[in-house]
């Protein structure tokens, strides 16, 4: 085994060499065979190509050239043929077109001739119809003729002369027809109008009449009711609108409006054999304005008459192509006059019927109802379209109209009161609250309410003052005089608020704010309107002061009194007048203060002519001072008189006291400033002062009864702050040194209470000569 194994490679190698040799021989043999085969094939191929293919190729090419030659011959032939045929075709087309046009022209002429014939027939028929008074037919024929003519005219290029002539003829015939119709119409509805055009009085309205012919004349019976035919003919000719418009205007001017405006005018109808006459008769004029119900009835009557004798006629004779006319004839008239009529009704009738008082407001429902019925009746007669509710809308809005009217009235009334004279006065006492309307609340009177609240207050807070009750009048306005116009103004406010409580919500709010507006108006109007008088006349200033306080006093409680009676919206504290109170108090106070300043200025100016009260031993000086004091007293006296019974007593006393105080303190200042007062000076000054002290209190006359004024004259020291000072000054002017020292009393006497040590010392130096006694006295004043 080892040998074969070791010699495998050699065997392989040996084998391979041998193999190659054998193999190559076979291979070459095979190759040679293959070459032989190829040789045969190539030879075959070449034979085929040159012997078989090329000759056939040649023949094919020959054929192609022959086909080309043939096709060019065909083209030539075709072109030749085409040229021939085209020429003949054009000629034929031209021939046919000409023929066609000829045909068309002929047709046209034929149709025109037909139209002309139609026109002619129509005119002919129209003429016969017109003669027979068949107006509708005539009108239709005319319309037909018109259509024909229109068609003729619409063709352009045929300006036939005859068309013009036909047009003229048609116009003439139309006018003719209209003339006839007009004539008919005028006999159908005859107006008898008042002679003068401009006057629109009751008498002239009385002369208006409308005659409507009811039964057609016998010979016309065949033509049907003439009214219908006439109106329809108008409609056909398009003239109905214009005719109805004129008719409507006349109807408005001479029948409807007078009926609305003059309540005494009654429509009055009279039916004669063939005529229905509508005229007026006058009844007793008992009212300024007639009620809407009456007016509605009258107008309804008129429309019913019209509907029956004039406007409903086409309804009974339905003509197909006049359908439109049939339904709209009444409506057409309605359309034309309704706007004006409804305006007139509102302005002259419904406005006046709006109540001025809320109690009548409920009755107004009848007016609303009758308005609704009135509109319904008119709608049934087709005067009105279904959705027209102008009148009803207005009437239903009565609350708002009422409030507007009411507010306007109230403001106008209030303003008149404000611009009326201030000096017409009434006396107000704490008991005069009864002048105001009693409010319907059970047992809650003005005073009572106040008392209970005051008692409450009293118990809660002021327990110090045992069980004493406050006076019934504690919160009352003190007795004084106010303008009667202001009292009326306040009554007006109460009345209006009372009215508001009985009104609907909307109305209530409007009225409430109207009342507030009254007061705001007062605030603006009165001080401006009466400005000059309030500055010039102290009495008016005082009355105005009282007026303002009076109003403010009422405004305090006005809102509360109506609090639970006004509408809910106002119940939440919105219904108040308290916010106006300070303004009114200020208004009154400022006016009176301004007057006080004027008076004070006058007093000071008069005293300024007193030459400082110096050197009274000079006769001229004394006279001047005396005169000044007389003047001041006179001025005070006059004021005391004009304010008497006008100002509340306490205000009177305070005002007079303030003015007297002005005079006294001025005199004190001047005298205290003097450096030298002789014995005679002192005497004269004293007598001047005595005049003031004696006569000053006399000017305090707050009450007209003289015996009751003593009390206030005694109380002058209370109202005149410098009274004691003045008295002390008088004592000094007459006293000796010891008396002055006693009055000073170590700073514990009344002199010390009124004057400073320096002032007293200065006075002593002016009055007394420089002696030891004086020095001793001066030493005690410290």
């Amino acid at each position: 085994m080892a040998a074969p194994a070791g010699s495998l490679v050699a065997a392989v190698l040996a084998h391979s060499g041998r193999l190659d040799k054998e193999d190559l021989g076979t291979r070459i043999g095979r190759l040679s065979r293959r070459v032989e085969e190829l040789k045969g094939e190539v030879c075959n191929m070449i034979n085929k190509k040159y012997n078989e293919f090329l000759p056939s190729m040649q023949s094919a090419e020959d054929l192609v050239s022959q086909v080309d030659g043939l096709s060019s011959n065909i083209d030539l032939l075709k072109a030749g043929i085409e040229n021939e045929v085209q020429r003949d075709l054009n000629v034929a087309v031209a021939d046919f077109t000409e023929l066609k046009q000829q045909l068309e022209r002929d047709t046209l002429v034929l149709s025109i001739l037909k139209k002309l014939q139609e026109f002619d027939t129509a005119i002919k028929e129209y003429n016969t119809a017109l003669l027979e008074k068949k107006y509708v037919a005539a009108a239709q024929q005319l319309e037909k003729a018109r259509n024909s003519l229109k068609m003729l005219e619409s063709r352009k290029g045929f300006e036939l002369k005859i068309l013009k002539a036909l047009g003229t003829e048609l116009t003439v015939q139309t006018q003719n027809m209209l003339y006839h119709l007009g004539e008919e119409w005028q006999t159908l509805a005859v107006w008898k109008l008042p002679p003068s055009k401009e006057s629109s009085s009751l008498e002239s309205a009385m002369h208006s009449e409308l005659h409507l012919r009811t039964v057609p004349s016998k010979e016309e019976e065949i033509a049907g009711p003439p009214v219908a035919s006439v109106l329809q003919a108008f409609a056909v000719l398009g003239e109905l609108h214009a005719k109805l418009k004129i008719f409507g205007q006349l109807l408005l001017k001479y029948i409807l409006k007078p009926l609305i405006s003059y309540p005494s005018l009654q429509p009055f109808t009279e039916e004669q054999s063939d005529v229905f006459i509508l005229r007026f008769k006058s009844t007793e004029p008992n009212l300024d304005h007639s009620s809407p119900m009456e007016v509605f009835d009258k107008i309804k009557l008129i429309f019913e008459v019209l509907h029956k004798y004039l406007l409903n006629v086409p309804l009974e004779q339905p003509v197909e192509d006049k359908k439109e006319c049939r339904v709209t004839l009444a409506e057409l008239l309605g359309d034309m006059i309704w706007e004006e009529l409804s305006d007139c009704l509102i302005q002259n009738c419904l406005v006046n019927s709006i109540p001025t008082n809320s109690s009548k407001l409920e009755q107004y429902i009848e007016v609303i109802k009758s308005t609704e019925e009135f509109e319904k009746a008119l709608k049934n007669m087709q005067f009105l379209k279904g959705d027209t509710t102008d009148l009803l809308k207005y009437a239903r809005n009565v609350n708002s109209h009422f409030a507007n009217k009411k507010c306007q009235d109230v403001i106008v009334a209030a303003r008149n009161l404000m611009t009326s004279e201030i000096h017409n006065t009434v006396k107000i006492t704490p008991d005069s609250g009864v002048a105001l309307p009693r409010l319907p609340d059970p047992g809650a009177g003005d005073h009572l309410k106040m008392q209970t609240t005051s008692k409450l207050l009293h118990n809660d807070m002021v327990n110090l003052e045992n069980k004493t009750k406050l006076s019934q009048y504690t919160f009352s306005l003190p007795t004084c005089r106010i303008s009667s116009s202001v009292e009326k103004l306040m009554e007006l406010a109460y009345q209006t608020l009372l009215e508001a409580t009985a009104s609907t919500d909307q109305c209530c709010i409007q009225l409430f704010y109207c009342v507030r507006n009254i007061f705001q108006l007062f605030y603006d109007v009165v001080p401006t309107y009466h400005k000059e008088n309030l500055q010039k006349l102290p009495q008016l200033a005082a009355i105005h002061h009282n007026n303002c306080m009076y109003i403010a006093h009422h405004l305090l409680t006005l809102g509360h009194q109506f609090r639970y009676r006004l509408t809910n919206i106002l119940c939440d504290g919105a219904a108040t007048f308290v916010d106006l109170v300070p303004g009114f108090r200020r208004l009154g106070m400022e006016c009176f203060l301004a007057q006080m300043r004027v008076q004070k200025g006058e007093i000071l100016e008069r005293l300024s002519s007193a030459r400082n009260f110096s050197n009274m031993d000079d006769e001229e000086n004394y006279c001047a001072a005396n005169k000044a004091i007389r003047q001041v007293l006179h001025q005070l006296k006059r004021l005391g008189k004009v304010w008497q019974d006008v100002l509340p007593v306490n205000v009177y006393c305070k005002a007079m006291g303030t003015l007297l105080n002005t005079a006294l303190s001025e005199i004190v200042t001047r005298i205290a400033a003097l450096e030298d007062i002789s014995a005679e000076d002192a005497d004269r000054l004293y007598s001047l002062c005595r005049t003031m002290v004696e006569e000053g209190p006399q000017v305090f006359t707050p009450l007209p009864e003289d015996d009751k004024n003593k009390k206030y004259q005694e109380e002058v020291p209370v109202y005149v702050q410098k009274w004691m000072t003045f008295k002390e000054l008088m004592i000094i002017l007459q006293a000796n040194l010891q008396e002055i020292v006693d009055q000073w009393a170590d700073g514990k006497g009344p002199l010390a209470a009124e004057f400073s040590a320096a002032e007293v010392k200065s006075l002593i130096r002016a009055l007394f000569q420089n002696t030891e006694r004086r020095a001793a006295a001066l030493a005690k004043i410290k």
Binding site: L593, N650, K711, V718, A745, G747, K748, A753
Partner: protein, 207 residues
């Protein structure tokens, strides 16, 4: 003139209207009596020198109006008073009852708290007495006041009332010694109370 005077004392007479304040004063100063004396308007003033225990004192006596309507003027009179004579009418109980109010007013306006008070029951000469002496005494004790019954008509107790009051004032330390100088703040009468006459109307303050 009056160099030997120890001091000047301010005495105030208060009480209801018609109890005899002015009569007491006139009896004391002028030794006169007028049964038809008119009501005091505002205030009256008298000066009288009195000798007590050998001490001379000058009295500045303010006689106030009892009527309600002049009350607005009185507050200023209380200032600096060292003694006060509170008068009632023994024949009118209501004047006695009202004493409380007067004490209250005194307390309110008085500028010092050691002021000496003397209660005087006047008109003991009359027969229809309504207030018993003991009642007056009890009330006086309760409010630490001096007490006396008097009659301006018969002169009973008048002098005594003033003397006792002055004696008590002089015995009270600090009430009068340093008096000769102005003590405390001197409020000027001129500014205060200007337009204070009333609040209503609201316009006086501007004039």
């Amino acid at each position: 003139m009056d160099e030997d005077v120890l001091t000047t004392l301010k005495i105030l007479i208060i009480g209801e209207s018609g109890v005899g304040k002015s009569s007491l004063l006139l009896r004391f100063t002028d030794d006169t009596f007028d049964p038809e004396l008119a009501a005091t308007i505002g205030v009256d003033f008298k000066v009288k020198t009195i000798s007590v225990d050998g001490n001379k004192a000058k009295l500045a006596i303010w006689d106030t109006a009892g009527q309600e309507r002049f009350r607005t003027l009185t507050p200023s009179y209380y200032r600096g008073a060292q003694g006060v004579i509170l008068v009632y009418d023994v024949t009118r109980r209501d004047t006695f009852v009202k004493l409380d109010n007067w004490l209250n007013e005194l307390e309110t306006y008085c500028t010092r708290n050691d002021i000496v008070k003397m209660l005087v029951g006047n008109k003991i000469d009359k027969e229809n007495r309504e207030v018993d002496r003991n009642e007056g005494l009890k009330f006086a004790r309760k409010h630490s006041m001096l007490f006396i019954e008097a009659s301006a008509k018969t002169c009973d107790g008048v002098q005594c009332a003033f003397e006792e009051l002055v004696e008590k004032i002089i015995q009270t330390p600090g009430l009068w010694e340093s008096e000769s100088q102005n003590r405390g703040v001197k409020l000027s009468n001129k500014e205060e109370g200007y337009g204070g006459g009333g609040a209503c109307g609201g316009y006086c303050s501007m004039l």
